[in-house]
């Protein structure tokens, strides 16, 4: 039970990063290798804000930071390359990721950072397992973010326009939907959910400048499990990744947990690239 509870919080984090991948991929067909680092930038934004703002507001600042960094990346690095192949666009996100990571390191150093949880107090005990209150906030925030996105995509005209663009970019242009506007929205949402949720995790553990790569890879697995298409399944995928990681860490060795998870990624990509869905996302590339 303890494993499940721990995995729940971690899974929400991976799921949120996965959703960040999915939103951008659905629109542009590209995989954003800087996703993890954008989330880390959001978390550090929250760390800075936490010195003057209450934790909840600081997390809001984290989401905002993630969104701003993500949108900047689109306009400075990806938009100029929109006529180039997806491979070039992918490499450029790698470069952006490195730049963000090392810029954070330059400013904040390599040491861990943390801030106060939203509600202080001891952990909640459920069915023999315990979960820190802040982790509940994290899970809650992810669920709220997911519901908000679901509402946005299903109920608002802008959300539908974004979906329309993913389905048929040519026809979206024909009805007057502009790629630049849509991409700005998508990158903002992607950065916001990843940055905000990672910021919410900071009080329970801590954040370091170099955390982005591993986080990004795990979020990517969640996105694969969600078929790079379905937001809900991506959250489920995040939980599965976290559960595997937690179980391996408890029963085999903590050091091997990441190795096993990444091996799982390779196997998953080769054996079942469609993840939990029926459609193969890898074929669309």
């Amino acid at each position: 039970m303890q494993s499940v509870l721990t995995a729940l919080a971690l899974g929400a984090l991976y799921g949120a990063l996965g959703i960040g991948f999915v939103i951008v991929h659905r629109l542009t067909g590209m995989v954003n290798f800087a996703m993890g680092d954008i989330a880390v930038a959001g978390a550090f934004g929250a760390v800075v804000a936490s010195s003057v703002l209450p934790p909840l507001a600081a997390i809001g600042v984290g989401a905002l930071t993630g969104a701003v960094v993500s949108v900047l990346m689109y306009h400075l690095a990806i938009h100029p390359l929109r006529h180039q192949s997806l491979m070039v666009q992918t490499i450029v996100t790698l470069g952006v990721g490195i730049a963000i990571r090392s810029a954070i390191q330059l400013i904040f150093g390599t040491g861990p950072r943390q801030f106060e949880p939203i509600t202080s107090g001891s952990s909640l005990t459920i069915l023999g397992g315990s979960i820190p209150l802040q982790s509940l906030w994290l899970v809650g925030l992810t669920v709220v973010g997911y519901l908000g996105l679901a509402f946005f995509f299903d109920r608002t005209l802008s959300g539908k326009a974004l979906s329309a663009f993913s389905v048929n970019a040519y026809a979206a242009g024909v009805v007057g939907i502009s790629l630049t506007v849509m991409a700005t929205i998508a990158f903002a949402l992607s950065g916001a959910i990843a940055g905000g949720v990672l910021a919410a995790q900071v009080p329970t553990s801590f954040i370091t400048a170099g955390a982005g790569l591993a986080l990004g890879l795990k979020g990517f697995i969640a996105a694969i499990l969600g078929g790079f298409e379905k937001l809900g399944l991506t959250l489920v995928g995040g939980f599965i990744v976290a559960l595997v990681e937690v179980l391996v860490a408890r029963n085999v060795s903590a050091a091997q947990a990441s190795t096993i998870v990444f091996l799982l990624l390779i196997v998953l990509l080769v054996v079942r690239p469609q993840g939990l869905t029926r459609k193969v996302a890898a074929d669309r590339v």
């Binding site: 995989v31 690095a77 992918t90 450029v92 490195i98 330059l106 990441s258 080769v270 690239p273 590339v285």
Partner: protein, 633 residues
């Protein structure tokens, strides 16, 4: 007009190039002090890694970041074998490289079912898995690593000085550069570039894509592993960090800096990256303090990666190439722009007259059935694109498939050539059923095809593009073609001759050294026809060859089809230009809504009311239909 020379020849120039290369390396090794020699040797190792990436990413167009893992296998393999088991260094190097090669080959097939970023992510994970494994495993020394390695012993010479590292590393680099350059000019290299350019077209030419990708990935793994072994014997100590993602990014950076299309890019990029690193180390501490060097370096590398890609996606080598081209044009003056076609003696472009003329040249006598399709059916979701079509093509016959837009013509041809699997029905070529074969397997039964929109390969000249079509006319593999053996040179010469013959026949010889993608649409179409013909097929499928051709080109294409028929070839052509169809075809097969509407001679089809209605449509009002009767006679 000069003969098309096989680019794959051995001449005195190669000897001179090798001598110059070794001279420069020796000069540097002799002049540099130990510090710079050490740097030079390290740059050589990075250049080797980047060369591996040029093969997989630059040539074959597959974005892989697995370099770190294979680099590590070489380094750790050599270390374990020599330190723990006391093996002789060179033998250990060979074995480590073999292990990397076998492993690379084994994982390549499943891995390369992935494309684009999914492949990048999987190979990135592979590198990360290797890094974490050696970092955690006891027998590799964990995060502290392993020491006690001896310098490489080269038949009695102990390579312990930095100068000797420079010589060995850069001679290996020279060999690999040479191999990769020669590979490019040979059959397998062309196949790789064709895969990068257009997979469907490469497969149609008979290139076995999964196999070619697996083999090039293996070659790259071996090169990376050799680099790793050299690294271990140079530093005499291995620990995990150099084999993680950082190296993969460095190599990527080199490839981006130098450009991935040519092995020279890897060499230039490796040197440029080191210069940048040195520059940063000299300047940064003054700006940000010594503590910031590591992160500052990364920041600059990251930003540089972005800036270079935005400004110049083909890197320094691309910029240099442009510069050289510019200088050459200035010096050579006239050469590039005006490649004038030999004036054709043809005066008439009246298709019907030409057909009469052609028929007098000799009768076409259809022979036995070459290809036969029965009950072909293709559904896309709820839409039936091709619906129960039967079709036979005979030796020496020109069969035209026509029909209004969306009638299912291209889908039909794609099913015949193995590019699209049918939902139901069978295709038989000769006596062999090819229904479930993939395109490159169907091509082995001597079926060639062209595509509706010309599928040419980026950065390839006309001669090479056409030669890809001769892929199945040769059998020299990747290794033999990069050395190259005398047999490989002979074969390449034969392919060049065969290509030359086709180019001459199609009036393309004067364009042989032009970039195929820069030709006019009509010329591109003819290049595709040439690529299909050079494979010496017995059946050729042409998908809308006339689009973009002018009157004279159409007339000579029509004459070509008639001539091919006389030679016993079976020709299937999809075309909208009815004048062309009626003049070139022996039989016409009309499709409408995916079904066979009519099969007959051109005259029969042209005067068939159902066909006319299918083309001109049916008027919507009864009284207007009456008016339009005069159009239909």
């Amino acid at each position: 007009m000069s003969e098309l020379r096989s680019p794959l020849t051995l001449s005195w120039r190669h000897g001179v190039a090798a001598a110059v290369w070794i001279g420069i390396v020796l000069l540097f090794a002799g002049l540099a002090n130990a510090y710079y020699a050490g740097l030079g040797a390290t740059v050589g190792i990075l250049a080797l890694l980047a060369l591996g990436m040029v093969l997989v990413t630059g040539y074959a167009g597959q974005f892989s970041l697995a370099v770190g893992a294979f680099y590590g296998i070489g380094a750790y393999g050599s270390t374990l074998l020599t330190v723990k088991y006391g093996w002789y260094g060179l033998v250990a190097l060979v074995l480590a490289a073999t292990v990397a090669g076998v492993l690379g080959y084994a994982i390549a097939r499943p891995l390369f079912r992935l494309r684009g970023h999914f492949l990048a992510m999987a190979t990135l994970a592979l590198t990360e898995v290797f890094y974490l494994s050696v970092n955690n495993a006891g027998f590799t020394g964990g995060s502290t690593g392993m020491g006690g390695i001896q310098p490489l012993d080269l038949f009695g010479f102990s390579l312990s000085s930095s100068a000797s590292h420079v010589v060995v590393n850069w001679v290996v680099v020279g060999l690999v550069v040479w191999g990769i350059l020669t590979l490019r000019k040979g059959r397998e290299g062309r196949a790789l570039l064709a895969i990068r350019g257009h997979e469907a077209a490469a497969a149609a030419a008979g290139v076995n894509i999964p196999s070619a990708k697996a083999r090039v990935f293996t070659a790259s793994a071996v090169i990376s592993a050799v680099a790793g072994s050299l690294y271990a014997h140079q530093y005499l100590y291995v620990n995990p960090p150099p084999f993680g993602l950082q190296t993969a990014i460095d190599v990527l950076m080199i490839a981006v800096l130098g450009g991935m299309r040519s092995p020279w890019g890897a060499v230039i990029g490796a040197i440029a990256l080191e210069v940048i690193y040195q520059g940063i180390e000299a300047i940064l501490p003054g700006l940000l303090g010594t503590g910031a060097v590591g992160a500052g370096q990364q920041l600059i590398i990251g930003l540089l990666l972005v800036v270079i890609l935005v400004v110049r996606p083909d890197g320094i080598a691309g910029a240099l190439g442009d510069l050289i081209g510019f200088v050459r044009r200035r010096l050579g003056g006239d050469r590039a722009p005006e490649a004038v076609a030999p004036t054709t003696t043809q005066t008439s472009t009246d298709m019907r007259a030409l057909r009469r003329q052609e028929d007098e040249a000799g009768p076409v006598s259809p022979g036995s059935v070459v290809l036969s399709a029965r009950g072909l059916l293709k559904r896309y979701g709820g839409v039936t694109a091709v619906d129960d079509v039967d079709l036979d093509i005979h030796e020496g016959e020109v069969l035209a498939v026509i029909g209004p837009n969306g009638a299912g013509k291209s889908t039909l041809v794609n099913m015949l050539s193995g590019n699209t699997p049918p939902t139901a029905g069978t295709v038989t070529i000769g006596n062999v059923e090819t229904t479930s074969m993939r395109a490159h397997e169907v091509a082995r039964h001597r079926l060639s095809r062209t595509f509706q929109t010309p599928c040419l390969f980026e950065g390839m000249d006309v001669a090479a593009t056409v030669k890809v079509g001769a892929h199945l006319r040769g059998n020299v593999g990747m290794l033999r073609s990069s050395i190259p053996t005398p047999a490989a040179v002979r074969e390449e010469r034969r392919l060049a001759d065969e290509t030359q013959a086709v180019l001459t026949r199609l009036d393309l010889a004067h364009l042989a050294d032009r970039d195929a993608k820069n030709l006019s649409l009509g010329q591109q179409k003819i290049v595709e026809v040439a690529r299909a013909l050079v494979g010496q097929p017995r059946l050729i499928l042409l998908d809308e060859p006339c689009a973009g051709l002018n009157k004279a080109e159409k007339a000579s294409l029509m004459q070509l089809l008639r001539a091919l028929g006389r030679e016993g070839l079976a020709v299937l052509v999809i075309e909208h230009d009815m004048e062309f169809v009626m003049a070139s075809a022996d039989r016409v097969h009309v499709l409408n809504f995916g079904k066979t509407l009519r099969v007959g001679t051109p005259d029969e089809v042209q005067n068939d009311h159902a066909v006319i209605d299918a083309y001109l449509g049916v008027a919507t009002d009864a009284d207007e239909a009456a008016e339009s009767v005069e159009v239909t006679h």
